[in-house]
């Protein structure tokens, strides 16, 4: 209960950002905020898979990118599309792709799983890259941001930075509460059981492959939500969002923040996006700083930012998960 209040308070504070006075609440900061929240959704979805079910996927960008491409392909060229329909199509498409790939990759485990998810993401990358219908390596444009209407009224005017920011924030809130609900349910407890000892879960009568597949599809669907927001915000998609660097970055956010907790994924995404923005403002060779930072954090913070934070203040039992 305490953690739920903390979450609500955090999101309420974040919702105030557009109202803040000049040096902070500008369009630039709203844009950056929306970018951070989009990546946070992406990291949260991967956290379910990696931290909560113990399935390390290095191909999560495939579902993110697939959803972004669904928006780019289905959005009308000359007018604003129906947001509800585009959102459903892109999230559904990503979940469907996750189901297809999941059915194949669930036969493997451990290191094979890491490599095979990577290889399937590459397959998706090459299909998009080499098929002219998807715009090839140049990518495709989304000329109008879709409209979200309820009845006749415009619910969110996504053209306005503040509205787009709130829309992203609401999506992120939905993701956190949705994933939190999954984790508290019987399903989530089964995921945790599989992470700890899959064989024992199977012996206890759980069809573990079906559970792992469920985790994979849910994670794919939420990654699709992030992909949808990315495509709408940028108005442009190219194959790079499907590349394995994108998958690597997502994994980095999750591990950086701390495995197994939703707050960890949020912390990881926020620090990753802000750090890379900062490094990019410092030098053209910012990847050097990023790489050094990654190596340093692996060497010094084996349990992620949240783990380091917990080690600093030992007031709560470390075993308790922040998400619960």
């Amino acid at each position: 209960m305490k953690t739920r209040i903390a979450w609500i308070a955090a999101f309420a504070l974040l919702a105030l950002l557009p109202g803040l006075p000049e040096p902070i609440g500008t369009a630039f900061h709203l844009e950056l905020g929306a970018q951070v929240l989009t990546m946070a959704i992406f990291a949260l979805s991967l956290q379910l898979l990696v931290g909560c079910t113990g399935l390390v996927s290095l191909g999560h960008a495939a579902y993110f990118g697939a959803a972004a491409y669904v928006v780019a392909m289905l959005a009308p060229q000359s007018e604003a599309g129906n947001g509800w329909w585009l959102l459903a199509a892109s999230v559904g498409g990503a979940a469907l792709l996750a189901l297809l790939i999941g059915l194949l990759v669930m036969r493997t485990r451990g290191v094979y799983f890491i490599m095979v998810t990577l290889a399937f993401a590459q397959l998706v990358y090459f299909v998009v890259h080499d098929t002219s219908g998807f715009g090839g390596s140049d990518g495709a444009y989304i000329y109008f941001r879709p409209e979200f209407r309820l009845g006749g009224a415009l619910l969110f005017d996504l053209q306005k930075p503040a509205h787009f920011y709130w829309f992203t924030l609401a999506s992120c809130g939905l993701t956190v509460s949705g994933l939190g609900m999954v984790l508290r349910s019987r399903l989530g407890h089964a995921f945790a059981g599989i992470r700890h000892n899959e064989q024992r879960m199977r012996a206890a009568g759980f069809p573990t492959v079906a559970y792992k597949l469920a985790s994979f599809v849910i994670a794919g669907g939420f990654a699709g939500l992030a992909g949808f927001l990315y495509a709408v915000r940028n108005g442009f998609v190219n194959p790079e969002i499907l590349s394995w660097h994108q998958s690597g970055n997502a994994l980095l956010m999750v591990i950086l923040g701390g495995l197994g907790s939703l707050a960890g994924a949020m912390a990881g995404a926020v620090s990753f996006v802000l750090l890379s923005e900062w490094f990019q403002s410092l030098t053209k060779h910012w990847q050097l700083l990023m790489g050094g930072f990654i190596i340093g954090s692996v060497a010094l913070l084996p349990h992620g930012l949240v783990g380091g934070f917990r080690a600093l203040r030992r007031t709560r039992p470390a075993a308790r998960e922040i998400a619960r």
Binding site: V50, V56, L58, L104, R107, T108, G110, V111, Y112, I114, M115, V116, L118, A119, F120, Q122, L123, F126, V127, H129, D130, T131, W244, G248, L251, L252, I255, L259, H285, Q287, L288, M290, G291, G292, F293, I294, I295, V298, A299, P302
Partner: protein, 290 residues
């Protein structure tokens, strides 16, 4: 497609497959023996290619560049294992993935800082230039045959070292039970460091001999890394024999895929991998058979 073209494409397939084997064998060795997933392995290939470019223009001799490059590679691998990998063995695979991902970024940027982002060509040395006539009017470059020969020699050497020598026996024993080998009086830390250096040297060698054919460009490491993952997964992680078979398979599928079905060539090898994994989830050769 007439017989001559078919023969040339077969030779190309074998050459590409053997080159892939050279890179993938290092990857599978480091994993099979030390249990480390090394994403930075492609970077070593890239380092090798750039080393061939730099050393060949410095020394003026390709053979000398190869020799010098190999020595540097072993030293480089030895130091790298010492600084970045020696504390990773106890950690989870996930942390190894992250660490080596960080190394990729560092290597790419260092490459950009030191050599720049231009595409370079490396000249084929004079004593390997020219071609072998095939049929009446076609010829096959000697240099490509040289690549295949080097790869075959390395494969044979690796087989002999691992299966027929005392050192190879110790290495194989170390992959099964690290502590036991250590308690028998073997310096396992040094042994691992040497195996790692050897794996790095294999990738660097592959990069160096591939440089005259493929040219030298940014991002070449990532490309070869992913395809090597496919090779390793198809062959069975940790199996050198599997890597050889899988690399040749990929060589043929990729080369002939580009000839017959240009649009889908990029995706074809991944489809092959999916099909093989459906049939055998642990690859063609289980690690125990390596």
């Amino acid at each position: 497609m007439d017989l001559t073209t078919f023969l040339i494409q077969c030779l190309n397939s074998v050459q590409y497959g053997l080159l892939l084997f050279l890179v993938a064998s290092g990857l599978t060795l480091i994993f099979g023996i030390m249990g480390v997933i090394n994403l930075a392995h492609g970077s070593f290939y890239m380092v090798g290619a750039y080393m061939a470019f730099t050393l060949a223009s410095l020394t003026g001799s390709f053979a000398l560049a190869l020799l010098l490059g190999l020595v540097l590679a072993v030293v480089f691998g030895y130091l790298l294992e010492w600084v970045f990998f020696s504390f990773l063995y106890e950690r989870e695979h996930l942390q190894q993935v992250l660490m080596t991902y960080g190394l990729i970024l560092v290597f790419e940027e260092l490459r950009s800082l030191i050599v720049g982002d231009d595409v370079h060509g490396v000249a084929v040395p004079a004593w390997l230039a020219g071609g072998v006539p095939i049929g009446h009017d076609m010829s096959y470059p000697v240099y490509r045959l040289f690549i295949s020969a080097v790869c075959l020699a390395v494969a044979l050497g690796m087989y002999l070292l691992l299966k027929k020598t005392r050192l190879g026996m110790t290495i194989r024993a170390g992959s099964v039970n690290r502590e036991m080998v250590q308690s028998l009086g073997v310096n396992i830390t040094l042994l691992y460091r040497l195996v790692f250096a050897g794996g790095v040297a294999l990738a660097v060698l592959a990069g160096m001999i591939a440089a005259p054919v493929s040219s030298v460009y940014p991002g070449m490491g990532a490309q070869v890394l992913i395809i090597c993952f496919v090779v390793v997964v198809i062959g069975g992680i940790g199996s050198v024999k599997g890597a050889l078979v899988a690399a040749l398979l990929i060589g043929f599928v990729d080369t002939f895929g580009k000839v017959f079905w240009q649009q889908a060539a990029g995706a074809l090898v991944y489809l092959l991998m999916a099909a093989i994994l459906l049939w055998r989830p642990e690859g063609l050769f289980k690690p125990s058979q390596s």
